[in-house]
Amino acid sequence: MCGILQTQRAENKAAPPLWKAGRVFMAIGETAVNSGNTRVKRRKKGIQWSAYGYLAPALISISVLSLAPMLYTIWISFTNWDAMHFMNYSFIGLRNYAELLNPSDPLNAVFVPTFIWTIMFALLTTVINYFAGLLLAVLLNNKNIKEAPLYRSLLIIPWAVPGLISLLSWQGLLNQSYGQINAALHLVGISAIPWLVNPFWARVSILMVNLWASYPYMMTVCTGALQSVPDELYEAAEMDGANWWQRFRFISMPSVWKVSLPLLIPSFAYSFNNFNAVYLLTGGGPARNSTPFAGYTDILASAAYKMTLTYNRYDYAATLSVILFLLVGLISWLNMQFTGAFKEVD
């Protein structure tokens, strides 16, 4: 298990693109298990009120900057606050939600395709990145490859580059007319691919760049899991005549699953709202003809963002955000059920 911990990266509030929320869960689960084992009974004594003094700066700032905006978002989703009703918006109950779910409403025309793409994106990117990481980890776990540590450090580079810079760089590299990726493809006789301007290729670009940026993380996780399997197990299996596939299937995989499953769900939840991955690469485009609010690659989070900043539809943006709150909450809850994290943390 230590391998996993050593490869954890810190979740940092200031840097959502760089550090992924998912890792927190894993680490917390870890602590929960460890502290549960070595738990020391503590005497109950009086409450030290000064504790709240120590906590005040953090608590106040979290309340004002995390909790209050969330509650305010929920409130706005019940109003008609937009540019037209900027100073005199009013409470309209569930009308925004009704519009969202009514198939003949224009808002629904934004919501449904964007929602489908959001789920597709989150699922595909998690699965592709995971299997790419797993494949590399398995290949590198070969005892005959002595220089594996060197390969690992080379493979980890994309992950170490700040996401903001690498995503923006990709935007330039994938430019249809001047990007160097098309120039390189031209060398091998492939004509220019409309990477970021064609709906299909824009989606491919997003998945591709996400793979580039995230497989090192998945590889690191799987490597940790594979290395935690004692060699004796493989030797015993070999004695019993198991071939490499059987060894992989019945010895490696169970342990990899145990470690990586609790990370896959948060990873899915993270991708679900991975605003940067979409917005910094395609800006949500190419645009749809049917609606100005969301382009072909917009996920719900980036659509809500554009509704706020570009169209000043705070009501619609808040409604979409509340739906996302619920989904993130649901996924986190599922994850807790799976991993048993948070059950016993003292």
Partner: protein
Amino acid sequence: MKSKRTFKPGQFAVTSLSRLIIWIVIIVSIIPMLYVVSASFNPGQSDFSASLIPPNASFANYIALFKTTDFGIWIRNSTEVALVVATAQMFMTAIGAYAFSRLRFYGRKYGLMALILLQMFPGVLSVSAIYAELAQLSLLDNLWVYILIQIGGSAFNIWLVKGYYDTIPRELDEAAIMDGAGHWRIFWKIILPLARPMLAVIFFLTLIGMYSEYLMANTILQSPQNFTLGMGMYSMVSGQFATHLWGEFAAAALISAVPLTVAFGFLNPLISKGLTAGSVKG
């Protein structure tokens, strides 16, 4: 066991094939980055070739970056924001973690987990509320408002540092109490000096994180003299003049990515140590 390892026939093929796949992945991963490096040294503005070594390499793009764009202003703004936010973050984390590690109070058991859960909800979902409210109060486009919005305590950091504090022997506290020290003195004179490495990690990670913050910066800031690094670079690569600025963008990407990546490389092992220290407590 020490006998010379001999390859079984199948094993050699598998190993060679593995090496081949790994090298292909490495090359495919690294080449895009090398393209950015080469673009930054390529003075020609129109022809972008597939070759990795530009024919007449020069520092023209780097000079142009500082002469023709506001790169200096972006760096200054981002540095200002990052320093203030990282300092505040470190302070809040240090004292908040002390309460969770050493004091008894209502909410100690589940409070931290509740806060971490709360912060699982990504900031992008609160943008509409924050933007609408700031617009109504006419507080948009102000660097200090942006800084204030970023100075939120991070429950995860508190959890991380609490784990570190937990590894500091309680005997030290008890000895200090014997000598008549209160909690503030224990915190200030014992815990804080011992936790300096961990707090430095928090400081630098927040610092790095703030340099690559884009979402809130783009929400709050508008005028060019308030642009942060992320906003400035975004404007270079996706504006209508993007084609002409690709070389300068590449130079900017290199200047900002190299220090951040190297710093992260040094800090990552430290933070892992912190996580492990936090998880093994006895």
